[in-house]
């Protein structure tokens, strides 16, 4: 049986662990608020951008002059998976769930005989994917120095993607990120960004007929890259909120577990202390009787 000193030390150490996880939970809660606000603030722009691009794309789609970002490169042989994870761990299944989604997708594509290339954003995803898919990694974006993701970060990522696309390195690009549903639920989401996906709706009828200045194609040419950047930006923001949400619930669990453990250890401590006392008493009494 563990002696009293050991038990006392263990209780003290679990208590300090609980303090740390409790603090991390509160920090995550504060950061989550900010991340959610940022995601909220970015929504109007992303929404409008998507509306206009979809409207334009629907009218240009099918024409031969459609930009490559919309029409694609005419094949779907090489896929680029942009896997967006966090820079730090201790956030429950956040990183693993994205990596898992990406890994499943990569497996599928490889089975179909396609070429897979992976661009990682965030250290954790890279570390996990390096184990079995290291041959497919083509690049990495480090955001560990970034405190708050800004549009420039998204622009940096999309620039890498465009450079690869212009060089003919891939045909289809998909981003993987966690969509923020609630604090306890984040959904790993794949989203195709190149070629742009145009939802099949008959908006053309109801929409007002716009004049375009300059031409539709020229505007589309200008807007598509922005639209891709905006989608990446939205994904980054969703990811940031999801990460904090996941960390918050993970730390909440950890705090609760530590509490349970302290209770158990305390009971054990008290019992063994009592046992020691009883033993001493018996020794004294039986010693006295023997006289």
């Amino acid at each position: 049986m563990a002696n009293l000193k050991d038990l006392k030390n263990r209780i003290a150490s679990v208590k300090s662990t609980r303090k740390i996880t409790k603090a991390m939970q509160m920090v995550a809660a504060a950061k989550l608020r900010r991340a959610q606000d940022a995601a909220e603030a970015a929504r109007p722009y992303a929404q409008r951008m998507a509306d206009v691009v979809n409207g334009l794309a629907a009218s240009v789609a099918g024409s031969e002059t459609a930009p490559k970002l919309l029409a694609g490169s005419g094949s779907d042989q090489t896929h680029l998976l942009v896997v967006m994870t966090a820079e730090r761990g201790l956030c429950g299944g956040f990183n693993s769930s994205i990596v898992k989604a990406a890994r499943v997708r990569a497996g599928q594509l490889l089975n179909e005989g396609k070429t897979v290339k992976i661009l990682t954003v965030g250290k954790k995803g890279r570390e996990q994917l390096r184990r079995d898919l290291s041959a497919h990694l083509v690049g990495h974006v480090d955001l560990s120095e970034v405190k708050r993701v800004g549009y420039e970060n998204a622009a940096g990522i999309s620039k890498q993607v465009f450079d690869l696309f212009d060089a003919g390195e891939f045909d289809v690009a998909t981003i993987f990120y966690n969509r923020f549903e609630s604090v306890i639920s984040q959904i790993p989401t794949p989203q195709q960004i190149i070629p742009a996906e145009v939802p099949e709706t008959d908006t053309a009828k109801s929409e007002t007929l716009y004049e375009y200045e300059p031409s539709e194609e020229a505007i589309l040419e200008d807007l598509l890259p922005r639209s891709v950047t905006t989608q990446i930006f939205t994904a980054l923001l969703e990811n940031a909120a999801s990460e904090q949400g996941a960390r918050m619930s993970a730390m909440d669990n950890a705090t609760r577990n530590a509490g349970d453990m302290i209770d158990r250890l305390t009971i054990q401590y008290n019992r063994s202390r009592q046992a020691a006392i009883t033993k001493e008493l018996i020794e004294i009494i039986s010693g006295a009787e023997a006289l």
Binding site: A42, P214, L223, T229
Partner: protein, 131 residues
């Protein structure tokens, strides 16, 4: 109200303003244009420049770069890649962007260089009006 329309200015990171306006002067890619209520539906791209909003409480100016404007008879929205209210902060940010664009222009060729140089000129002009 028929003599006013809804005006929104949004950048990727936030919504800068959402007000009722009499007219909005927009630095469009092919020249400035002023949108007023009942304007024909129009979508145009932007060049770096100054956006002038004429609203109920007078004139407000913003510096914008890149993006597009969507004009309908009842509302105008401007989606700018970067947008700053007049002031030192915006000036500094634009100046940084100008330096960056100049540097890029110096190493680019042909059409790209012309486009970048034009952007740089537009930027320089915008900055000079921001005093």
């Amino acid at each position: 109200m028929a003599d006013m329309m809804q005006f929104d200015l949004v950048s990727p990171e936030r919504k800068l303003t959402s007000v009722q306006a009499y007219s909005v002067q927009i630095p469009a890619a092919e020249g400035d244009l002023t949108a007023m209520p009942d304007h024909a539906p129009l979508i145009t791209t932007l060049r770096p420049g100054v956006l002038v909003v004429n609203g109920a409480d007078g004139e407000t100016r913003f510096a914008v770069t890149g993006g597009f404007a969507e004009i309908t008879p009842s509302a105008t929205s401007v989606l700018a890649e970067r947008a700053y209210p007049m002031g030192q902060e915006g000036r500094d940010a634009l100046q940084a962007l100008l330096d960056e664009t100049r540097a890029k222009a110096a190493s680019a060729e042909g059409n790209d260089r012309d486009a970048l140089n034009k952007t740089a000129d537009d930027l320089a002009q915008t900055i000079s009006t921001m005093n």
